[in-house]
Amino acid sequence: MAERIYNRLLAIRSERGLTQAGLAELVGVSRKTINTVENGIFIPSTLLALKLAQALGRPVEELFSLEPDEQE
């Protein structure tokens, strides 16, 4: 079983030119939630992961993965 989930939220959010506050507003959560997910401190529920994917216009598996991103 994987011990952590890797995410590309920060990279994709930056690509879209969104701030943490902007993404928080789109998804309906606090900036702290976006920040903790981006930093891997908090693993979001499936519901929140899907909302993030929808807000960023990307498939959820592009945002989250069990393997680290090759560029990392």
């Binding site: 506050a21 507003e25 959560v29 606090s30 702290k32 903790t36 908090f42």
Partner: protein
């Protein structure tokens, strides 16, 4: 959901956490030194009622997030996934503190006399204080 809702929610969340931190200290002191029965100018009934109301209020806030006067949108951001996870961890801390306090008082009662009411008040105060402190720490760090 608007940017103003998010800003308001973050502001109220911070205030809530700060109040919880202060209340944790107050409850801890209250639990450890008691009400000062002889020194208090309040009647015993009023003192017990005030304690019951205070504890009840903080239990409701720990269970629901409180701040019911705010709009549904603001409350939903204040009680988003991270906040709910923090509340869950805070309640765990409260549970373990209650068990530990109960065990300490059990063994302490073998040596010192203590009324049931005193013992229960200490356990409840210390457990709620632990839950509030844990929540405040998780939210404010």
């Amino acid at each position: 959901m608007t940017a103003s809702d998010i800003e308001q929610a973050e502001r109220h969340s911070r205030t809530r956490s700060l109040i919880m931190a202060v209340m944790a200290v107050v409850l801890l002191i209250q639990g450890l030194i008691g009400f000062g029965d002889e020194a208090s100018s309040m009647t015993p009934m009023l003192r017990h009622a005030m304690w019951g109301v205070t504890v009840g209020l903080w239990l409701v806030i720990l269970a629901t997030g409180g701040w019911f006067q705010l709009s549904r949108n603001v409350r939903s951001v204040m009680n988003d996934e991270v906040s709910l996870a923090h509340r869950s961890l805070a309640l765990q801390a409260g549970f373990w503190t209650a068990i530990l306090a109960g065990m300490i008082l059990y063994f302490a009662s073998l040596r010192w006399d203590m009324s049931l009411r005193e013992g229960l008040r200490i356990i409840i105060d210390v457990a709620i204080a632990a839950a509030l402190a844990r929540y405040a720490w998780l939210e404010l760090r």
